[in-house]
Amino acid sequence: MTSYLRERFSLRRAGWEVLTPALTLVVAAIAATIILLATGYSPVSAFQNMWSKGWELEQVVDMLNRATPLYLIAIGAAIGFRMNIFNIGVEGQYLLAALVASYVGAQFSIWAPAHVGVIMLTAMAVGAAWVAIPAILKVARGVHEVISTLMMNVIGIAFVSAVLLRWWEVPNKVEARDDLPAWFVNTPNIQTREIPESGRMPDINNVLEVFTRDIERGQTGAPQKYLWGFLLVAIVVGILYHIYVMRTRHGYDLRAGGANPDASLVAGVDPKRMILFAMLMSGAVAGLAGLPEILGRDYAYSLSFTQMLGFNGLAVALIGQNHAVGAAFGALLFGYLDTAGPILDSSGDAPEEIIVIIKGAMIFTAIIVYAVVRRRQLADQARTASAVLAKRDSGEVDEGEHPK
């Protein structure tokens, strides 16, 4: 094989890989335009505002803060997807994990890194434990995980709000903070006891400010926005995921099990053990998704804790095609859209719900576009390859080709 040829193929592949998300974006934008026009809003001004205001530094901080949990969920879901497991229960897993981890974290105070570590391990353990039930049902009795994890979502969410939060609730008043809306302050809020200082994750505004300007200060002199330190954890998780999936034998087994269960079985992959592992790991990673908010802003689980990250994170995994970098792209995109919603609402360009529609359109088109592009890519490979082989057959062989 000539190096020229190899180059050519990978260049082409790269081209195809950029094309897919780009097409998804374009189609979603077109869908949004049509809906805006049909409902009597101006798409031009909506997109203009989204673009110009969305890239202000303070908005970018919000975007990153939203992308962080979405990314963790997406990686968790991707571990399952790689093995053909649809862990739709990430929603319940991260909510329950966040609640239990906040409760446990508030019980003691030790050396800070250890404290944070304990909280993270607790969240992972709870996430894994919650998915363990569907996992065992699937392995032992063949219960389909979509049904069982979906049920466990509902149970988990109900359990959180109806049982645990009532046991662990503490009297509370929400203190004024620049990053909280005014209506939120001093309203009664049911929440767990606050995690002491040692269990909190410092913000990383200073890291961001190295690359950009300073984040604007509020009346109290504190920054208006805090970039949560958990972003770094998410990045590490992404890197570890990539190394695991692409560079370890176990990760290969996982992918093989997903790509062809029968072939991987005769290749020595134990499907039951692999399913169990994939589901538990999926739940464990998803369990981390509640912590950015808990450790970075609220220091406690309250009724205002952000929900629905689970389902959004599943979509991010889909758009990112279970790839560490793709999921990062998807998480940033969803983070951007989520922070753009309020902009549209406040500028009067469009109702916030248009964002939900855009996200829906993106998920939908992603599925179609990936299938279409994959087919086109195969056809392209076909043409290139037959051209190469035809040339080889007719004797015009490049150096380094096969002798036959």
């Binding site: 560079r247 370890t248 992918r255 020595g268 195969l378 490979q381 290139t384 037959s386």
Partner: protein
């Protein structure tokens, strides 16, 4: 029997060589292969036209194009001088073209009748006309010699009978032109003769048959004209009367027909694979509805096999007599009920599949796509499947070594003549023969102690077949113990040092391949002779 004896005079004489179907300049490109290149092919009305060629010669592709399953990249299809373009098999059926696939497309849990009418049920205002359907299907079954009750479930039928159901299913749709894709590859000799009777019957009814096959004796027996494809091009169309097997072989591969033959004796005393008193039961849900209960079924009964170093032991049997379960037991993907399995003297009965594979148990699966490959993954990732924990693919059984794996894959590609532009191409992009070469290369290049080869040449053509046989011979010479499970009797007889016949889960007889004919073997397999 010659065709002139059975040819219904009136029909053929009226339109002797007016082409009914004409394919002009058909080209079709797939990733990595030119499947068809400028092929011209014409079929006259009322003839049996055989399409021969090696695997990857483009026979199946050409027929898929004619049947509307694939669109040609270039060229045109003419039926009765009218240019047409099929977008789906439905279009083809509307033009009276039907196809009987190599792999049966039947629903096991439906009856013969239901399978035949499925999708073409006679209805009045949306209600099915049960009586009409039964009558029509019964008539067809009678005239084509399918003697089973049409209410029998398909799962209870033998392979030959299932094939007839497939044929009648196509005929029921009112087609005049039938494409039969390697119909004999799944049949034992007795069933092949039966199929030929059916084919002659169809011809007498005025049907036109296109028959894909690469067994030349069969082709010469049944076909009127023969078109030979080689490397995606049509090489020649000859009359049966003008052709000999020798000529056809030369046309197909450009050299003499290879024969499976193991030449020298390489067997030594050392036993590498030993199966001792193996029993295997399965539990299946029997009965129906609320009365359903687990039924135990004994699939393997007291199986004893030993394979020596440098020996090929052939397992002959009609499909469904326990071969698949035997292989699963050897691989460790199915629990045995009792008995022991030894590899190189070690008791491996309790070992996991992974441990067996890593201790160098090689496996060439019968179904490439289902058991052997990850189709959407690149070749180099496929090259490590089953060996992902071993060098050079992984270090310490933990870290994957992608660049070393790619190098290893490039070696396999060269040593086993896998035709591909790159090891980064998806396995999907290769032709069947090349996929099979990759799998064989993967298993052989890891120098296994024991190799299980299940139908290693199924669905591949003479040229690739010869290469596979040669590979197995090399394996034998290098001191592997090979267990060859096959339905190709010539292959079994030609390659094996010893032959065992499996019938209803029992090894019923051990034969000397030097003494046995395919016919005899066939009668042992069907239980006609014990």
């Amino acid at each position: 029997m010659t065709s002139s004896e059975t040819m219904p005079a009136g029909r053929v004489r009226s339109t002797p060589l007016t082409p009914l179907i004409e394919l002009r300049g058909i080209s079709k490109y797939f990733p990595g292969v030119i499947a068809n290149e400028n092929i011209n092919f014409s079929v006259a009305e009322g003839e049996i036209h055989a399409l021969c060629g090696e695997n990857g010669a483009g026979k199946s592709t050409l027929m898929k194009i004619l049947y509307g399953m694939q669109l040609p990249d270039e060229g045109s299809i003419l039926i009765k001088d009218e240019t047409i373009r099929f977008h789906s098999p439905r279009d083809a059926i509307d033009y009276g073209i039907g196809m009987v696939h190599q792999h049966f497309m039947l629903a096991d849990n439906l009856s013969v009748l239901e399978n035949i009418i499925l999708g073409a049920e006679p209805t009045t205002l949306g209600y099915m006309q049960q009586a009409t359907a039964e009558q029509q299907v019964q008539d067809l079954c009678d005239s084509y010699g399918l003697t089973v009750n049409i209410h029998t479930h398909v799962e209870e039928l033998a392979v030959g009978q299932r094939q007839k159901v497939e044929i009648i299913k196509v005929l029921y749709r009112g087609v005049d032109i039938l494409i039969l894709d390697e119909p004999t590859s799944v049949l034992v000799p007795q069933e092949v003769e039966d199929l030929f009777v059916t084919m002659r019957e169809m011809k007498e009814q005025g049907k036109t048959l296109i028959f894909i096959d690469h067994k030349l004796d069969e082709v010469l027996e049944i076909a009127d004209r023969i078109t030979v494809l080689r490397a995606g091009r049509s090489v020649a169309t000859v009359d049966k009367t003008e052709a000999t097997a020798h000529d056809l072989a030369e046309l197909m591969i450009g050299s003499e027909l290879p024969v499976p033959d193991t030449y020298e004796d390489t067997v030594v005393e050392e036993i590498l694979l030993k199966v001792e008193g193996l029993n295997l039961d399965t539990e299946e849900l029997g009965g129906s509805g609320i009365a359903a209960e687990l039924e135990r079924r004994q699939v393997l009964t007291n199986v004893n096999i030993s394979v020596h170093r440098g020996e090929i032991v052939g397992i002959a049997g009609v499909e469904g007599n326990g071969q698949a379960e035997l292989i699963e037991a050897l691989l460790g993907t199915r629990q045995v009920s009792s008995g022991k399995i030894f590899m190189a003297g070690e008791d491996i009965t309790g070992w996991s599949t992974r441990r067996r594979r890593e201790e160098n148990l090689g496996y060439i699966p019968e179904d490439r796509h289902k058991m052997g490959l990850m189709l959407s993954s690149p070749l180099w990732e496929n090259a490590m499947l089953g060996h992902q924990g071993s060098r050079p693919f992984a270090a310490g059984g933990f870290w994957l070594l992608p660049s070393a794996a790619r190098e290893k894959c490039e070696e396999i590609v060269e040593d086993f003549d896998v035709r591909t532009p790159s090891v980064r191409v998806a396995a999907d992009a290769l032709s069947g023969g090349n996929q099979q070469k990759l799998i064989i290369g993967r298993e052989m290049s890891m120098s296994p102690k024991v190799l299980i080869a299940a139908h290693p040449t199924r669905g591949i053509d003479v040229g690739a077949q010869a290469a596979v046989w040669e590979d197995l011979r090399v394996a034998r010479r290098e001191g592997l113990a090979v267990l060859l499970v096959s339905a190709d009797l010539d292959e079994l007889i030609g390659l094996s040092d010893r032959l065992m016949v499996i019938l209803r889960g029992q090894i019923v007889v051990e034969l000397d391949p030097a003494q046995v004919t395919p016919r005899e073997l066939g009668s042992y397999m069907t239980g006609a002779q014990v």
